[in-house]
Homo-oligomer: 369 residues x 2
Amino acid sequence: MTGPRYTPLAQSLPATVPFVGPETQERARGQAFAARLGANENIFGPSPKAVAAMAQASAEIWKYGDAQSHDLRQALAAHHAVRPEHIIVGEGIDGLLGYLVRLLIGPGDAVVTSLGAYPTFNYHVAGFGGVLHTVPYRDDREDVGALFAKAAEVDAKIVYLANPDNPMGSWHKGAEIAAALDHLPAGCLLLLDEAYVECAPEGTAAPVSADDPRVIRMRTFSKAYGMAGARAGYAMAHPDLISAFNKVRNHFGMNRAAQAGALAALQDRDWLAQVLAQIAEARARIAGIAADNGLSALPSATNFVAIDCGRDGVFAKAVLDSLVDQGIFVRMPFAAPQNRCIRVSCGPQAELDGFAAALPRALASARAG
Amino acid sequence: MTGPRYTPLAQSLPATVPFVGPETQERARGQAFAARLGANENIFGPSPKAVAAMAQASAEIWKYGDAQSHDLRQALAAHHAVRPEHIIVGEGIDGLLGYLVRLLIGPGDAVVTSLGAYPTFNYHVAGFGGVLHTVPYRDDREDVGALFAKAAEVDAKIVYLANPDNPMGSWHKGAEIAAALDHLPAGCLLLLDEAYVECAPEGTAAPVSADDPRVIRMRTFSKAYGMAGARAGYAMAHPDLISAFNKVRNHFGMNRAAQAGALAALQDRDWLAQVLAQIAEARARIAGIAADNGLSALPSATNFVAIDCGRDGVFAKAVLDSLVDQGIFVRMPFAAPQNRCIRVSCGPQAELDGFAAALPRALASARAG
């Protein structure tokens, strides 16, 4: 008996995972983490109004979600002063990245990103046969000029830029990105991943018209809004591009409770404001813990902080491994020289206390090793 | 300023939707439906334990879902007496259909299904450039022999068979499907969509080994378990094929509350049993309503009933339009001669009372038109 006949592309792909999840690590350790600070989840959590909306929607979960996410798109359009036709709602930015790559990238098509930037985007590019070209970070920031120059050089169809950046937490002023668009090659779409932008200083979101056909901006309810497990994200772009998602998306793919929760979360501006204040406090606390241990924290416009461990990637990995051994889930950048850092998500005092207690031992262990 | 450069395939696709959702229709009507009987949702709803599990998970929705759906897969494996390696959990059968088609089907690859069978499968096949070949129903049932013969004729990589069938509600004995596998051409995967199988008579689920490389079976929490809006489905197949999903799926794409809800729903066998009893009662009631109006209902192994309106598709469409005008959401088959029927989902007494009240007027209106 023979098995299925895969496409040549599918045959060439590894059965991989962009990230090993914390639950998988916990099962391997045989023990739960004491502090879950590795996945840039927002431990301060969603608005209680969003929780209530999701709980209420659970009782009506026998209904499919609205295929148009109409109410959420209306509210997002009002929030961003655009039209609903400028907005597509999808199953998190991860889901939207997959749809976008599928629409634009076929075997051999060129894509540009930074070396060590978001792996799930790279996973989708590889998954559709695209060829990824990378540009190094400069001073721990994504290098907009070099990205656009590389895009011109390789005739890229997409250039990926996260602002603020993950995993470094660095950022550019939105006006600088808008100005740089003059140097974006024709026929190259700027994919601006603004997953963390709510945590960033005023002026970080790029002032780009939603009718600009050169740019798509992606946002999420996973970070500042604290709803990573709901899988609700959205993209803003020219209506033609937004409409193209209807060619490939799962029209009934949105969880109905997630739709209701996102709408409630969007409307609870007070909750968002106090979460952002807590995130800012936690960033300062993490920087303080780093300093207490003779390390420096990088400035961050996100809900996480990259801590420079002061040596190379091998050393930072030893620090990370010891933290994980001690029950503190953190992650680290993939590429040198950013991988001299560990990446710690913001969280409440108890979690950061755990990190503060574990870090000296982790450093001692790494130095001894 | 130029827009994005789409792939030739994406350029060729229409921005379509396999189904127009009830909310979309309600917005067009300017009025909510009195009875939502068109999408084969399970109005009897999910287990209260599932609702409680989802509500509880909503408070922890700041966490991403477990990328491996470990606990749910363990429970499903025990339930089906297979290993977790035989099971992939995904964002509803719709999501899993997309992943499967992507793994096997590229431009020009042949796929076989029945004329008028599940449109979302066809949507995915078209979306990856596959060429769909159709076989007519025979006596309102999918014609297994003809499907497999057509698969041999066109060298199909996938043959789709829903058992029980949507939209007709008809079914084959599982043993007959297992026996027919001798005639499945080598290199053709049988995609057995068993979305409704919990509603079917004992013996409808095909007795196929999970290690059989020729078959993948898909199941869902959307129908008998009453959780369509959660987006939780699963597939059972040979571990090699299951593992291949890891090449293309969104690893963190599952809603965390949906994972918890599905697990609780699976474990509440009493609730499922009483829902199935209610569905059986509702099927009989719908058949009675049909008979009261001089129409015949087709036998059904699902949570819906196809009612033969006694004339052609134009007449049935007029009946349907009048029902919709009266606030009764129903749907109908797409292809002749099945489109002589309307398709009515099972539901509680109030909804069926609404249908019973509206049907005579709908028939009168269609006969007058």
